[in-house]
Symmetry: C2
Subunit: 339 residues, 2 copies
């Protein structure tokens, strides 16, 4: 940590350092960050926000802007965002808009933030119950990956991050997929190189299409069906985690890829078997299936009554803007449930 931070501190030409954390990272991650900072002769000013998605809002951003002003942050101040996606999204937005933009660095502390949320330059907040309604595209100066932060991670958070790592392998890296298949997810300490590889895949996709005009859509694999599944379980007593829903989405969309763009049935089976071994099959009742299809019909990517999805030609080779009919979607959902 000290070494990585040392390089960073030398690179950045800053006047003052600020840290944004939340109640969780304040307890579990901030002490080691401040320790390393102290030994580098730095004493950053720390702002702690309330944890959780419901605090990713304008009120919190205002408090952070005020904190900057009260502490005389100038254009050469730098903000370190220490946390998961909520902290990196909100901190990135606050920094990108303070005095027309100060530099920021992400120190992601969850697996999902390390391989996904912190990468890509999307930052923003929720506004009036609309998710990420207000925001901007702004890349962090640096993303500092420090995997020991993951020690305090809850199992559900591992599962969410894992699903995105599997997705990255499936859309872009057959070799990584083969490595993942033989990895024991419980051996967290051996994950470093897989995490870095996964982050690299996302960086590569984003660099190819920074403003999400086309190719970047390949990152949506598993997400069209996944979001629909997530939303119908949201009303239940026991909602599904985002990662779990995406894992189901990837299976159903693998079968759709078979129907629509020729993914072989053996690959569909391979994806299905691996994913159900880590995300055991969930039943979707008949009434929920109708809701799920209705949800799909409202997807903002639809055109002329057809759903647009990002699917796979082969493992490691994505195809975006694939057209799927509602009948095909229904058929794929049935396939998943009957397997």
């Amino acid at each position: 940590m000290k070494e990585q931070l040392g390089v960073l501190v030398d690179q950045l030409n800053f006047s003052q350092l600020f840290v944004l954390c939340d109640e969780n990272t304040k307890e579990h991650c901030l002490p080691s960050l401040l320790n390393a900072m102290t030994s580098l002769g730095q004493a950053p000013k720390v702002f702690c926000m309330k944890a959780g998605e419901s605090n990713k809002n304008l009120e919190t951003v205002e408090e952070l802007w005020s904190f900057f002003s009260e502490n005389y942050a100038d254009r050469k101040s730098v903000l370190l965002n220490l946390g998961g996606g909520v902290v990196t999204d909100l901190g990135g937005f606050a920094a990108a808009t303070y005095k027309r933009g100060i530099q920021f660095v992400h120190l992601p502390t969850t697996l999902l933030a390390m391989v996904d949320a912190a990468i890509g330059g999307k930052c923003g907040i929720n506004f009036h119950s609309f998710k990420n309604q207000i925001g901007t595209f702004q890349h962090p100066k640096e993303i500092l990956l420090y995997t020991p932060f993951l020690h305090s991670l809850a199992e559900a958070e591992w599962q969410s991050g894992k699903a995105e790592m599997i997705k990255h392998a499936l859309i872009a890296d057959l070799a990584m997929w083969n490595r993942i298949k033989h990895f024991r997810f419980e051996e967290h300490e051996k994950w470093s190189s897989l995490i870095k590889n996964s982050a690299r895949i996302k960086i590569k996709v984003v660099d190819a299409d920074p403003l999400e005009k086309g190719y970047r859509k390949v990152l949506n694999y598993g997400h069209t069906i996944g979001h629909a599944v997530e939303s119908i379980f949201m009303k239940k007593e026991k909602p599904l985690s985002h990662g779990y829903a995406i894992a189901i989405g990837m299976q159903i969309e693998a079968y759709l890829a078979h129907l629509v763009c020729g993914l072989s049935m053996s690959s569909v089976q391979e994806i299905h078997q691996y994913l159900t071994s880590h995300y055991p099959k969930v039943n979707i009742e008949a009434a929920d299936r109708a809701d799920l299809l209705n949800f799909l019909k409202q997807d903002k990517k639809n055109e002329a009554g057809l759903v647009k999805m990002s699917l796979l030609k082969e493992i490691g080779k994505p195809n975006f803007d694939q057209t799927v009919s509602f009948e095909q979607a229904e058929q794929a959902i049935e396939w998943y449930l009957e397997k």
Copy 2:
């Protein structure tokens, strides 16, 4: 108007059009815009904000974001900002941050906005009494110059815009300076080509240095002393307009340019004579002179006790980051007062 709008409407690939105006432009400019729109088959949704700098704040931005949400603005919506600098600054910021950025077009309605505020990609709002504390850099898709909007402009607003036009000529265009000198400011209708030329100068400077890292500072000519003069008159019964203060700043900084980087005394005289004929000399009392120097001492561009200014080598040839001592600044102020 209809012709310019027609080209714009054809170019933009939009789902919905929105207009931001204020109470003044609603009365004086919106009718002709809506007329032209109607004949193009467009019916934009209009949001009217309260006029004035004191409403360039987060509350107004929130209202505008809510207006977008309530009217189902999507990423292909386009915002037309119809107004002076307050409207273009705030509208640009609201658009740049809604759904990570929708396109916007400026329709500046004041001379100052046409030649200065609408150009350069700076947008933002005031926050807790700090001017432009929150904002971002984002260029409009287009700036539509329609000089008939100026018919309703108050004299003080002409004066503010004029000062920036004179500045543009002095820092970049000797030929324009010679044209301006023989222009009768009262013949507003003849101004179109000068306004366009002035806007072009600003665009050229901004393009050369979009994020204000160096060269763009030449636009500060007249502004270091000008801001100090503006601030000491702010407390008076009769404050000076921004343009008036800048006109004084340009004279004093012309003399400083003579002291520091060799601007000839004949050019200093030429600048002084022209400016005092349009912005009659203002007296600065002894107590105010001390305040003025104190204000300069707090300028954020200072380094090692010296003021950094953008000055002129010759008319049309600027020099930024010029070092001026407080003694020289005092001497130049005395020169202005004794002339």
